[in-house]
Symmetry: C2
Subunit: 143 residues, 2 copies
Amino acid sequence: MKRHKDLISVLRANNMRITPARRALIQFILNNKTRRIPLREIYDHVGSVLDSVDRSSIYRNLQVLKKMDVLQELNLPKVGKCFQFVFDRKVHHYFICKECGRSSRGKPELFQRIEQALRDVHGFSKANLSVVFYGLCSNCTKD
Amino acid sequence: MKRHKDLISVLRANNMRITPARRALIQFILNNKTRRIPLREIYDHVGSVLDSVDRSSIYRNLQVLKKMDVLQELNLPKVGKCFQFVFDRKVHHYFICKECGRSSRGKPELFQRIEQALRDVHGFSKANLSVVFYGLCSNCTKD
DNA sequence: CACTTTATTGCAATATGTTGCATTAAGGGA
DNA sequence: TCCCTTAATGCAACATATTGCAATAAAGTG
């Protein structure tokens, strides 16, 4: 799922309605697919496109999209709460530096190894899993 | 580090002072070592032991202990924000169910495998790393 | 198009979390 | 024990997030 249209029909399928506020939100998220978008930006933007969507509606819609696994929520130490579009509703996994808050994606190979370990050790095979590593990045590691 | 005394001396070593509020907080956390304590409980308790410690002080102290890797912060879906005492300031890793919010610890073996994969794939060897898995527990997996 | 159902919104009240600043008191030194 | 430095507190203002409820409007039906 990469396109607006697709996302809309998923919403429809789940008996959800396409309101202007929701459309604007989806638009903005898809325009920023590749970024972790700070929450602040989201409601600044959505609140300004239409002449003011209430804060509560924005929050509610973010929760909805999160529950649908369209968005992943990340709490980056310095930046604060962010949302990341999840391509094809597949897994994302991140390294987040506790110190500076920078985040980076793990290599696919890492995730394969982790999945394997999860299967072996815990018999856990559910797809749609997100993994977040909190540690120190190489910059912030002071010995 | 398992005892009050030890924790106190770590604070001292970091040029931090032992105030009544801080003492009460540490006491409470150590009395609940084995649990993930909901934030709510923490400030209800600490706020009542002494006749009222300000909200802001409690938050600030929690942040301090988190930065020292004495506490790990977890955001459990239903329960909300929790804090977990980190034995010996070593890693904790969790499975958190997106649906029901229940969480459980991973087996040590899993973590060893993950550490190994991190070394192999990313050359990432920093200790004191926490790993959080978000997925669906077996109860909430509906096919 | 008019009508009905009910998901979604806006609003207001409330809960939760953060920050700046003047004041207090912990803890080390004389 | 008194004094000094400055970490930590309380307070107030503010920012961020959640919730209940009445009003609105999306979308299916005749």
